[in-house]
Symmetry: C2
Subunit: 242 residues, 2 copies
Amino acid sequence: MRSGTNPRAVVLLSGGLDSATTLAIARSEGFDCHALSFRYGQRHAVELEAARRVAEALGAAEHRVIDIDLGAIGGSALTDHRIEVPTQPSAGIPITYVPARNTVFLALALGFAEVIEARDIFIGVNVLDYSGYPDCRPEFIAAFERLAQLATRAGVEGARTHIHAPLIALTKAEIIRRGTDLGVDYGITLSCYQPTPAAPTQKGQAIAGTAMASLACGVCDSCRLRRQGFEAAGIPDPTRYR
Amino acid sequence: MRSGTNPRAVVLLSGGLDSATTLAIARSEGFDCHALSFRYGQRHAVELEAARRVAEALGAAEHRVIDIDLGAIGGSALTDHRIEVPTQPSAGIPITYVPARNTVFLALALGFAEVIEARDIFIGVNVLDYSGYPDCRPEFIAAFERLAQLATRAGVEGARTHIHAPLIALTKAEIIRRGTDLGVDYGITLSCYQPTPAAPTQKGQAIAGTAMASLACGVCDSCRLRRQGFEAAGIPDPTRYR
């Protein structure tokens, strides 16, 4: 049973720029935010540390991490370590696309929402900049919302679940401006598909496993879009590139 | 790239009566069947051993198991060990309902189908006997098929993915007759929500971790439906009850 006074929302949080902005937007709309991340066999698992920082910095009510072995089905450079992450833009859907990933993540968010009696789910997908992934399009989000109505106990009982994708029509620069207005510190987020640990600090100790200690490659699709976004927004890029 | 001559299908396989029958049907329709199971924090993880046997006995091309920690979101007697499995029928949606489970499982099947270039997914849901789970209804399956069209690279490129639910309108007795006609050995399947290891064998050794060595409780919803199904079908029930 619900006890708080604010409505609850589940917010999908990767630890990157887009999901951090999405969390800030959900908070600004008055939701108690239950952040949800996935350890899914991704190369860039250090992003979970970034997600933890972001959830804390932006006042999420909680942050849960679900383990799911997407590597068992393979098919993506993000989960199959034998496939190289490309450093040049590709035509069509890139190899970093993880098959049905947003369908899987939204399905799990839907289950979590049902358990905590939340009727709102936020996801930071973005159609303009998102490298052509099919499951980042508005029609996909709309189809998932229709499915949610039929898939759950809450739906059977008449409650509507809303899938919010507040970034879906924004450029990366607009996202960065919006987040900056809401006080997001992008220095603690991590977008890179293949980050590396930072060099040892002055005291000769590497700060292992922390987002702030990770260096972005600067050349993967995700880094490139992020870099261009800060440039276009006219806002200094706090990302540490290697 | 495809090399075989038969079309490929992903078949969701729990190791229970319904999914075994579904696999037999998919095989009888000429598909090369790629069976997919989940280790999702269920109480009855021994069902995976049953799934392995069933996949082998019914000639699946392969059997993959994906680990996914649904226990992290809780909310069901099947994944939360603090909630008792009921032994009496309940009104409405029972506590053994796992929030959004079939949405999650179909999403993962969709990702797997995309990787192996399969356009057909089989799921053994059944509306008449399935204890009132919302995600076992025909309208849910239809909504997922619409979503699949929008969610994947294959869909973007124009391929249709079909979600087959061949048991959806059958009674348990009809399912059992159908499977028996197709040569399914129900003695190697396991439907119980809370199975226990069998008593020691004559040689004084328990056969741990095998479906044939597991005893069904006989009183959970799933056991009750299975029992009644064999009775109604007039076919001897090979299940070993404790």
